[in-house]
Symmetry: C2
Subunit: 221 residues, 2 copies
DNA sequence: CCAAAAGTGTTCTGACTACACCCATGC
DNA sequence: GCATGGGTGTAGTCAGAACACTTTTGG
């Protein structure tokens, strides 16, 4: 009984943290929404399988992807265990499959109902991990394209934390600490003053803002 | 091919962070040291299997235990994947098995050589996780018995971080923040002045000192 | 009386919070 | 000319780092 590998693909879309879900066309849980995933193939690595699923659904392979947690398979399922990964990407870069069956679509996490295979526990775990990583690392950059305004970056934080962020403090933390740097391009958007575009300081590198790799699960059992 | 479950059992022994290892008596990697582990049994949960292994090796079931990470099985192995857990306990509480074959023993991580099944990568991951958790949580308490001197607690931090800690700042952080509280017992040890004994403030509860559940692996692939 | 470890306070610095106004543009 | 969002500075608070001497006991 090979393990299943699922990928929680997250993005910020219209100011809301959203996951890529697939409507099941086949039988266990037909018609319900589920995380994209499948069985680990023979001689395939876990990272390889996650990467493959991610590419299948979005066409991307150069985005943030890391292992999340391994879960027991739900009672009704067919797999022994489920190894979950999570990925972060700018919604604009994803090219979703357009088949009628198994069609993928973005769903805001806020107010999302139950999913196939109790996948909501995995989604909840991913959201929690992301929130915590936000505090210690640069992961937020993974959710934006190469050039962005500070307002857009701040919007990403607000969408994930679900609370407002002070503009000036945010700017200082993020520019002052040297994690992003201004380019000399600007962008005009609608009826606004043109906004300066920024980019990652170590271009596209993920820096653990402070301590890498912590983990909660305050179990005692 | 059921997944294997292994447990990294850590303690601080003689001022050094140490893991419980088992000398393999049977064939793949006979004679080499390995992490305790085995195959996930049918209808067993991951947490259940880890808990069972832990109990088999130490007789304990009320200590800190959490999932660590899932690894691809090494080339030579027989399992599909390896789900690693890690446990923390006071060395004094463990009652090791005394059989001649498969005998378990504590090994300081400092200067430890290669292990069976490339288990050293799992051990390294556990040490890293522990270091990070130390900064954000109370896990260190899991490595000491119910009553302890501040010096002992500080020794645990120093053993894990492998660097000295300022006595006064440490005392303030740990008592001032209210995570441990003094009892009115003392203990005399050797040719020293008697030392006050402390205990966990919310007795034996693990409090996430600040943000729970972060994770590094700054992958980008 | 000497060695060894316990115990105790202050100062400095850097990081984070809270908070209000002017500016440039498109309509 | 006005509505919209971009851009900027200051003061207060708190946490953490550095740092040295006195006390008690056993030998």
């Amino acid at each position: 009984m090979a393990p299943a590998v699922v990928v929680v693909i997250l993005t910020v879309l219209e100011g809301r943290l959203s996951a890529l879900l697939i409507e099941r066309a086949a039988d266990p849980c037909r018609g319900q929404w589920a995380l994209p995933g499948g069985l680990l193939q023979p001689r395939e690595t876990l990272d390889g399988a996650a990467s493959r699923k991610l590419r299948d659904e979005t066409g991307l392979s150069d985005v943030f992807l890391e292992q999340l947690y391994s879960f027991d398979a739900p009672a009704g399922g067919d797999a022994g265990i489920v190894v979950a990964y999570f990925a972060l990407l700018p919604a604009s870069r994803a090219r979703l499959r357009r088949e009628l069956e198994w069609r993928p679509a973005w769903h805001a996490l806020r107010g999302l109902g139950p999913l196939a295979f109790a996948n909501e526990r995995i989604l909840a775990y991913a959201r929690e991990r992301l929130r915590n990583k936000l505090a210690y690392t640069n992961v937020a950059w993974s959710l934006l394209p190469g050039r962005f305004t500070l307002r857009e970056l701040q919007g990403v934080y607000e969408a994930i934390l679900e609370e407002p962020v002070d503009k000036r403090n945010f700017r200082r933390r993020v520019v002052g600490a040297g994690v992003v740097r201004p380019t000399n391009e600007t962008r005009k958007e609608g009826a606004h003053r043109p906004a300066r575009l920024y980019e990652f300081s170590p271009p596209a590198a993920l820096v653990p803002a402070s301590p890498a790799n912590a983990h909660s699960s305050r179990s005692t059992a």
